[in-house]
Subunit: 285 residues, 2 copies
Amino acid sequence: MLYLVGLGLADETDITVRGLEVVKKAERVYLEAYTSILLVDKAKLEAFYGREVIEADRELVETGSDDILANADKVDVAFLVVGDPFGATTHTDLVLRARELGIESKVIPNASIMSGIGCTGLQLYNFGQTVSMVFFTETWKPSSYYDRVKENVQLGLHTLVLLDIKVKEQSLENMARGRLIYEPARYMTVAQCASQMLETEEERKEGVWGPDSLAVGAARVGAADQELVAGTLSELAQVDMGRPLHSLVLLGRRAHDLEKDYIRQFAVDEATFNAAWQKGGYGSS
Amino acid sequence: MLYLVGLGLADETDITVRGLEVVKKAERVYLEAYTSILLVDKAKLEAFYGREVIEADRELVETGSDDILANADKVDVAFLVVGDPFGATTHTDLVLRARELGIESKVIPNASIMSGIGCTGLQLYNFGQTVSMVFFTETWKPSSYYDRVKENVQLGLHTLVLLDIKVKEQSLENMARGRLIYEPARYMTVAQCASQMLETEEERKEGVWGPDSLAVGAARVGAADQELVAGTLSELAQVDMGRPLHSLVLLGRRAHDLEKDYIRQFAVDEATFNAAWQKGGYGSS
């Protein structure tokens, strides 16, 4: 049996009781560690589980999945995924491959950022489609996400923006030379996301958002040091929310009063917040 | 401290390790049992936790929240919520009330149906706003959800439809006479939801969906006997998916091939599925 086990969002104790039972009994335990990270390292997980955990990088999952699945028709294999196994990144390909090999799969769900973002007090009902923000470079500033957010904005819906992480990436030079040297891990911050959004708006100029648009920054959702900040995009572009992971929600116009009362608690500046709320026509439907 | 603890979706072992620690130590433990249910009863939870659990009905939470919060500035109170505390139903009002009373709150996230629905293999990125479906009566068939789904359909996005549950409801007669007699609990099925959708379309006639529109029914997400069914709305209107809870996803046109391959595994009828896929223009963007 292949078990896909969600680990939740913050630390080793976010696994479910059922998930922990599976991990303790499985023959092999893999950890998918390239699309998201827990706020604790592998050694801490191993100590908590009392057993070895094999790190599964993108290459192993995408091209070496038969190694992961070896023998899983006879023994139990656990594949651990930060968040939920079918959350922001789905692992349907692994399940389909298992099925082709005659191996059954079971999923142990857990919190995902796609629902965990409800901690902002924004109603999940009022969210449109989720988008991802990648790190811009000098020459590559993809703006296709702009069109998706525009669809949400036109309907007055909130948008969850998931922020890029770069783990175990090679520089172009090292890749070309076949050197397995990896760049330091990078995690996009709320401030970087907000400035990239302002950059895209300056380029596209369709007025989907602007410096006074309201947004909520969320850092380390579900952790003891979780932090939430509400403010305009230009305020958020200046904010320091500490260590990763970060996410951002662009507020939709349909936001209602209970949502307002909740997010105003953690406004960068209450006066700016109130002014931006009124100016932006939030709270209308 | 007020702890809002997510219980996840299926049974007593879906609580997180951290959540269980909180429950074991708290002075009082409440269970919110009117917006969703676990697939196990309160007695089983109490046996698992080794302690008493107080059932919190709608009245207690909405008008008697100060009883729940009594003394919570000095002792720990745990408020258990099926799914995630800020998932399909948010408990922001309780947190705001606690704050007014000078009581701190902490949330222990867990799986919510809003992300758990990823078990269908449909990408959460491709979902638009979520809607709720209430039980129709002879005289009350609200169709405001139709307009929301229409917005998703026009964008080619999937729609998660959450199905009504009626727990501890009084009949009009008993309510009028002040008799605290409750009707048996009712949970909407995928089949009921699909037929109500077809009824609404017949009334509204804007062609947002039809009998050949593809949808996925999900029953008992996250449980050992989880069941998924893909088919046309007219097929789903006939399907029996067993005990609650059920949810339905109306497929959006932007569905892509990996999603198709995944949901076709559990098609009611593969030939009908393929025909409906082609006729409906799914897979285009």
